[in-house]
């Protein structure tokens, strides 16, 4: 049995709910109230209220619990997703509480939440239709349930601010929530046009401001479990290099030290299989683990990739910039010929280096492996990912794995930055030591082992017409990316520039996709900000 030590004031504990599994759910409540953070235990059977669909449940007192499947990394998802559903459902904003949705349910029961990550600042722009639809559908099913009970047409029932009414009859949403869950609509309703909005578009305080003003906001790195131990890790400084040997006897007598655990890179590596060969020191506090690891003699086998440096990479890029690349887009006539023939040209070359995400919350994960279940805390931008990664690492059924979503101390990367490796590490160490383990990377490890943003070298040239505007434009981009072509398509190297909207009549765009020797990840607006 796992219990988190929740350092919450009485005021923070606005609401607790006992789930069928004995779990306790803490929710956020709106203005003035101080809210707690994550469900200490996942809710497989969500609330004591009636669930109308996966997105929401209504309690007998009218409290509407909205389950947000996205992470809250500062972009306001917790508040904005709740607002979109409250808008369609038409309930008083004060009656809403937001919780993070259960990823176990999502992964194992048909991915009801459709998308559980946010990337490219797309949450509201791209996902509002299905999120608002969930609220609209619940509202119409409440109306249908009331219509059935009252013997009237659904269209005669008005749903407004948590109340259903028709003629002289009225009832609260809560009265019909159970019946609404059983309703199937012939046709799902359309979402509201902006002209009908009563909540969206109005400045609304973020739900999480209060907990982030008193230290009670719970981040992954804050997980504390009974019997938990701590691990500091070092991975091979050259990714995919080997661990030759280490000498645990040199540190095993240090205070608090429990074990050293060898970590092994995974064969058939892909984007989510980036745990490197390395070693972890486990101790009763993180600082004891870290200081012992600092003293642990380790020998690495760095292989030929150890010869790669910024200089060798720059030389390769320079060579490729002289070679014709894959043509990604051509517009008009012979752009390169026009530039070569022109006496009014502009040329430039831009280099973007490797860049780490350097989130304020260092890379970390906590995992508890038991025979019955596996519990995971991981600051991943998509909380379904750590569930799948841990199940894969341990060879467990995804139904056994529960992810506890907390706040995320920055994200900056569409695919979760570097948290997949650390989550595998925590799972592996917990399995081997038989206790819950929190792994925290030092900032040095975080910068060195985080998946880096691919570096880009771009050469640009243009010729200017008589009016001073460019009449021909040429770009050639070289980028170094790990698995990028397979994962996010070949266009990303010159994604933005190749499709630029400027009215240059003659253009030619080329690219070289080069395999990187280290794991890479997107980092804010992938493709666009490297070359656009």
């Amino acid at each position: 049995m796992i219990d988190m030590e929740m350092k919450l004031s009485r005021r923070t504990l606005i609401r607790t709910m006992a789930g069928a599994a004995g779990g306790m759910l803490l929710g956020f409540r709106i203005p003035g109230a101080f809210a707690a953070v994550v469900a200490p235990k996942p809710w497989t059977t969500p609330t004591e209220g009636d669930e109308i669909n996966a997105w929401l449940a209504i309690d007998s007192d009218g409290t509407v619990t909205i389950r947000v499947p996205h992470t809250e990394q500062g972009q306001g998802a917790l508040t904005s997703v709740s607002m979109m559903i409250a808008e369609e459902l038409d309930v008083p904003w004060e009656s809403v509480q937001a919780v993070f949705a259960d990823m176990n349910r999502h992964v194992n029961e048909g991915e009801e939440y459709i998308v559980t990550t946010t990337y490219g600042s797309q949450l509201i722009r791209q996902q509002h239709p299905h999120i608002m639809q969930a609220g609209a559908s619940a509202r119409e099913r409440l109306k249908a349930a009331a219509a059935q009970a009252w013997g009237v047409e659904r269209s005669a029932v008005v749903a407004k601010q948590g109340m259903l009414s028709a003629g002289n009859r009225s009832a609260s949403y809560a009265d019909f929530a159970g019946a609404a869950a059983e309703i199937t609509l012939d046709q799902e309703p359309a979402i509201k046009p902006p002209a009908e909005w009563w909540l969206l578009g109005k400045p609304t305080p973020r739900l999480d401001a209060a907990v982030k003003a008193n230290g009670s906001a719970h981040f992954s790195i804050d997980a504390r479990l009974e019997g938990m131990v701590y691990a500091a890790v070092k991975s091979c400084p050259v990714p995919w290099g080997g661990l030759e040997r280490y000498d645990f006897s040199a540190i095993e007598d240090r205070p608090g030290v429990i074990a050293a655990v060898e970590l092994k890179a995974i064969e058939g590596r892909d984007h989510f299989s980036d745990m490197q060969n390395g070693v972890a020191v486990v101790a009763d506090t993180w600082y004891r683990a870290k200081t012992a690891l600092d003293l642990l003699p380790i020998e690495w086998e760095v292989g030929t990739d150890g010869q790669v440096s910024n200089e060798t990479q720059a030389a390769e890029a320079s060579r490729l910039l002289e070679e014709t690349g894959e043509v990604s887009n051509e517009v008009g006539g012979d752009a390169t010929g026009m530039i070569a023939a022109s006496d009014r040209t502009v040329t430039a070359e831009y280099h973007r280096p490797w860049e780490t995400h350097a989130r304020m919350e260092p890379i970390n994960a906590t995992v508890s492996v038991t025979n019955e279940r596996v519990d995971v805390w991981s600051p991943a931008q998509d909380q379904a990912v750590p569930l799948k990664v841990v199940a894969d690492q341990l060879g467990r059924d995804t139904r056994d794995v529960y992810v506890h979503t907390g706040f995320i101390g920055g994200a900056f990367g569409g695919n979760g930055g570097g948290s997949t490796a650390v989550t595998r590490q925590a799972a592996e160490i917990s399995r081997q030591v038989g206790r819950p383990v929190k792994v925290v990377w030092t900032r040095e490890e975080d910068v060195m082992q985080d998946k880096q943003r691919p570096p880009v070298y771009t050469r640009l040239a243009a010729s200017l017409g008589d009016n001073g505007l460019p009449d021909a434009f040429f770009s050639r981009a070289v980028w170094f990316n790990y698995g990028g072509v397979e994962r996010i398509g070949p266009a990303t190297a010159d994604y933005s520039i190749g499709t630029m909207p400027y009215a240059v009549p003659n253009r030619r765009h080329e690219r070289h996709n080069v395999a990187a020797h280290i794991p890479t990840a997107t980092h804010r607006a992938p493709g666009s900000n490297q070359n656009g």
Partner: protein
């Protein structure tokens, strides 16, 4: 080695090496996780706490050096988010991801204590050591001015 720390008005007996940074004693030994780990080398300000009212970086302050002194963490600023800085922070919804905010708030509280009505440049100077990757700096400055008003009223 066991020693006693006075944290938020409560005496805590701690068993740790005396050179252990106060940050890890707060987080791991005592369980006060409101104070965050950011860099470990006093460069980001995320771990800021008050010792005898002065802001210090808990990651680069040994626990032993805090013995006999009054340590205040984010959890000890108020019981109910009533500190003027907290009120202003909530009113203006300063935090985004929130990870750096405990440190920001502690630095701001210390500033207000010694400079009740700080100018922009005094704020910038006092807050210069606290990084925020969400870029909440403008709101932080505005909220400190607002907190000064709240404190006076």
């Amino acid at each position: 080695m066991a020693f006693t720390l006075n944290i938020n008005g409560t005496a805590h007996e701690v068993d740790a090496e005396p050179e252990t940074p106060l940050l890890w004693v707060l987080r791991d030994n005592i369980g006060l996780t409101g104070t965050k780990f950011g860099c470990g080398i006093a460069q980001c300000g995320t771990c800021t706490v008050l010792i005898d009212g002065q802001p210090v970086r808990a990651c680069a302050t040994t626990a032993a050096s805090a013995v006999g002194r009054l340590i205040t963490t984010i959890e000890g600023l108020s019981d109910d988010n009533s500190h003027p800085i907290q009120q202003a922070w909530i009113e203006d919804t300063v935090p985004q991801c929130g990870y750096c905010q405990s440190g920001q708030i502690m630095s701001a509280a210390a500033l207000l204590e010694r400079t009740p009505d700080p100018t922009d440049s005094e704020i910038d100077s006092a807050m210069a050591g606290n990084l925020c990757r969400c870029g909440t700096y403008n709101r932080i400055r505005r909220a400190i001015h607002r907190a000064a008003e709240i404190a006076k009223s």
